[in-house]
C-alpha cells in the first residue's frame, strides 16, 4: 500500500518528468507498434497467399468418372488435405475463361484436361509437405501431370522466413531501446530521490522495500506508455487506411499482449535501474 502511494506521489511531485517519461516510453513503443503493424499485415498477406497453395493433378483423357470419384474421396482422407475436388473438362474451361477475362476468346473450342484440385490444411503448406502430397497423388495411374507451383511456394516460404527473422531482430532491437529509455527515466526518478533512499537504508529499510515503489512506477509508466502507443498506432493505421492501403489492426489479444509487454519493459527497466543504484550507494 505504501509502495503504491509512493509511486503515485512521484507522479504528483514531478508531473513534468513523469509526463516526459510516459511520452518517451509511448514513442518508443509506438515505433515498436508501427513495426508490429507492418509485420502483422505482412503475415496476413502471406497467409492469404498461402491459402492459395494447391496441388492440381491433371487426369488422362478417358479415365472413368467413377475411378476419378474414388480417387478424389481417397485423397480427401490424407491427413494433410483440407479438401479434394474433381474439376471436369467443362469446369476447367469455364474457370480458364473466367480467369483470363478479356482474353477469354483464346479458349474458343479448346479442350482442357479434367483435374483433381487438392487444397492443404494450414501447417501443411510448406514446400516439403506440398511435395510429399503431390508425390502421393502422382502415384495414381490416371494422373497425367501434376502441378503445384514448387518455385512459387519456395519463394513464398523464403519471404515468410525472412519476414519472421527480420521481425524478431527488429522487435528485439525496439524492445531493447524501449527498455533502455524506461531504465533512464526511472534512473532520473531514482536520482531525484537519492537522499531519501540513502536515509531509508541508514534507518534499516530493506532493499526490496526501497525497490518496490520504483518497480510499481516503472510498471505504471510502461502501461500508460503502452496505452498511448496503442492509441498512436491506431491513429497511424487510420491514416494508412485512408491514404495508402487497407490494413488489419491488432486484435484484443495482441493489444493486451502489447500492453503487457510495455508493462514488463517498465518493470525490467526499473529493476535494472534501481538495482544499479542500490549497488552503487
Amino acid at each position: 500500500m505504501r509502495s503504491l502511494r509512493d509511486a503515485l506521489v512521484t507522479f504528483r511531485r514531478a508531473p513534468l518528468l513523469s509526463a516526459l517519461s510516459v511520452t518517451t516510453i509511448a514513442f518508443s513503443l509506438f515505433a515498436f507498434g508501427l513495426f508490429g503493424l507492418v509485420a502483422l499485415n505482412i503475415r496476413e498477406a502471406l497467409d492469404r497467399l498461402e491459402d492459395r497453395v494447391e496441388v492440381r493433378a491433371f487426369i488422362a483423357e478417358g479415365t472413368p468418372t467413377e475411378t476419378i470419384a474414388i480417387a478424389t474421396a481417397d485423397i480427401a482422407t490424407f491427413p494433410e488435405v483440407l479438401s479434394a475436388r474433381t474439376v471436369t473438362q467443362e469446369e476447367a474451361l469455364a474457370r480458364a475463361r473466367r480467369e483470363l477475362g478479356e482474353f477469354r476468346d483464346v479458349f474458343e473450342g479448346a479442350v482442357l484436361p479434367a483435374s483433381i484440385d487438392v487444397r492443404l490444411k494450414p501447417g501443411f503448406r510448406a514446400p516439403a509437405s506440398v511435395r510429399s502430397v503431390a508425390a502421393r497423388v502422382n502415384t495414381y495411374a490416371f494422373v497425367d501431370d501434376i502441378r503445384y507451383g514448387e518455385e512459387w511456394i519456395q519463394k513464398l516460404y523464403r519471404l515468410r522466413n525472412i519476414a519472421g527473422i527480420a521481425g524478431l531482430v527488429l522487435g528485439l532491437a525496439f524492445a531493447s531501446v524501449s527498455m533502455i529509455i524506461i531504465g533512464a527515466t526511472i534512473r532520473m526518478a531514482v536520482l531525484a530521490r537519492a537522499r531519501e533512499i540513502s536515509i531509508m537504508r541508514l534507518v534499516g529499510a530493506t532493499d526490496s522495500y526501497i525497490r518496490r515503489p520504483f518497480l510499481l512506477e516503472g510498471f505504471a509508466k510502461g502501461v500508460m506508455g503502452g496505452l498511448l502507443a496503442l492509441l498512436l498506432t491506431w491513429m497511424a493505421r487510420l491514416l494508412i487506411d485512408r491514404y495508402i492501403i487497407e490494413t488489419v489492426f491488432f486484435d484484443q489479444r495482441l493489444a493486451a499482449l502489447g500492453l503487457l509487454f510495455g508493462a514488463m519493459i517498465g518493470l525490467v527497466g526499473s529493476a535494472v535501474s534501481v538495482g544499479r543504484h542500490l549497488r552503487s550507494v
Binding site: R195, I199, L202, V203, G204, A205
Partner: protein, 229 residues
C-alpha cells in the same frame, strides 16, 4: 556489543583507511573518537553500521558479523542503531515530525504506534513545539536535534554520531552534547567522532585517538593523564 578484530580497510584508489584495529565498545559506554582529518574515524564508524566491510579482520555488532551479514541482516542491524551526521541528512520536504516518523514508516512500524513514539522523542530532544516546522525553518542545532530524534525513535542500543557538532556554533554544540550525555545516561551507548578537543577535555568519557588509520591512544587502556590530547 561492538567488537573489531584486527580490522583493516583498504580502498583501491586511496589506500589504507583503517589499519589493524582491535576494539571493544561495551553496553552503555560513551566513546569519543578523535584524530585529524583522514585519520580513519568515519571509516571506522561506517564499519560499525556495516556500510563498509573490512578488507581483513572482522567487525561484530550485536551478534551480526561483517563476515557473513546478508543485506537483510544489515537492514535489521540498522534498526537497532541510531546514526547522526554532521550534515543532518533531513528530508527538506517533510516536517520535523514527518522526518522522525519516516524512520518508523520505512521499517514497517504499526501506524498506531508512530504518532506517540514521534511525540516522545521530539519531547526528549526538546522540540515538542516544533514538530510541524520544516528543516529550513529550524536552526542548525534544532535540525541536528531532529536528526537525533530520528536516530532515537527505534530505541537503539548505540548512537553513532559522526561529527554531529561540526556545523554548529559553540552554544548549539553544548546543547547537542548535553543531549547526547542525557541519551547515554538513559542507557544508550554513544560513539561520537569529533575534532572538538575542548569538548573532550572537559569530559571523563573514554577517548580513542586515531592517526593514519590506527588507534594511537585509548583511554580505556591508559590513564588519561598519560597523554595530553
Amino acid at each position: 556489543m561492538i567488537r573489531f578484530f584486527n580490522v583493516t580497510k583498504q580502498y583501491a584508489r586511496t589506500g589504507t583507511a583503517v589499519q589493524d584495529i582491535t576494539l571493544h565498545v561495551g553496553k552503555g559506554e560513551f566513546v569519543f573518537l578523535t584524530g585529524a582529518s583522514g585519520a580513519g574515524k568515519t571509516t571506522l564508524l561506517r564499519m560499525v553500521y556495516l556500510e563498509e566491510r573490512p578488507t581483513s579482520g572482522e567487525v561484530r555488532v550485536s551478534g551480526t558479523s561483517s563476515l557473513d551479514a546478508t543485506p537483510g541482516d544489515v537492514a535489521r542491524l540498522r534498526r537497532k542503531l541510531g546514526i547522526v551526521f554532521q550534515d543532518f541528512r533531513l528530508l527538506e520536504n517533510r516536517t520535523a515530525e514527518q522526518n522522525v516518523a519516516f524512520a518508523l514508516e520505512v521499517t514497517g512500524a504499526a501506524k498506531a504506534t508512530i504518532g506517540p513514539k514521534v511525540a516522545r522523542v521530539l519531547t526528549q530532544v526538546g522540540l515538542a513545539s516544533k514538530g510541524t516546522a520544516y528543516p529550513r525553518e529550524l536552526s542548525g542545532g534544532e535540525q541536528q536535534r531532529v536528526a537525533i530524534a530520528r536516530a532515537l525513535v527505534n530505541d537503539p542500543f548505540v548512537l553513532i554520531a559522526d561529527e554531529p557538532t561540526g556545523n554548529l556554533d559553540d552554544r548549539a554544540t553544548r546543547g547537542i552534547f548535553q543531549l547526547l550525555r542525557e541519551i547515554n545516561a538513559a542507557g544508550t551507548a554513544v560513539m561520537m567522532a569529533t575534532h572538538n578537543l575542548e569538548l573532550i577535555r572537559r569530559q571523563e568519557f573514554r577517548t580513542i585517538e586515531m592517526n593514519r588509520g590506527g588507534i594511537v591512544f585509548d583511554s580505556a587502556d591508559q590513564p588519561r593523564v598519560a597523554r595530553e590530547l
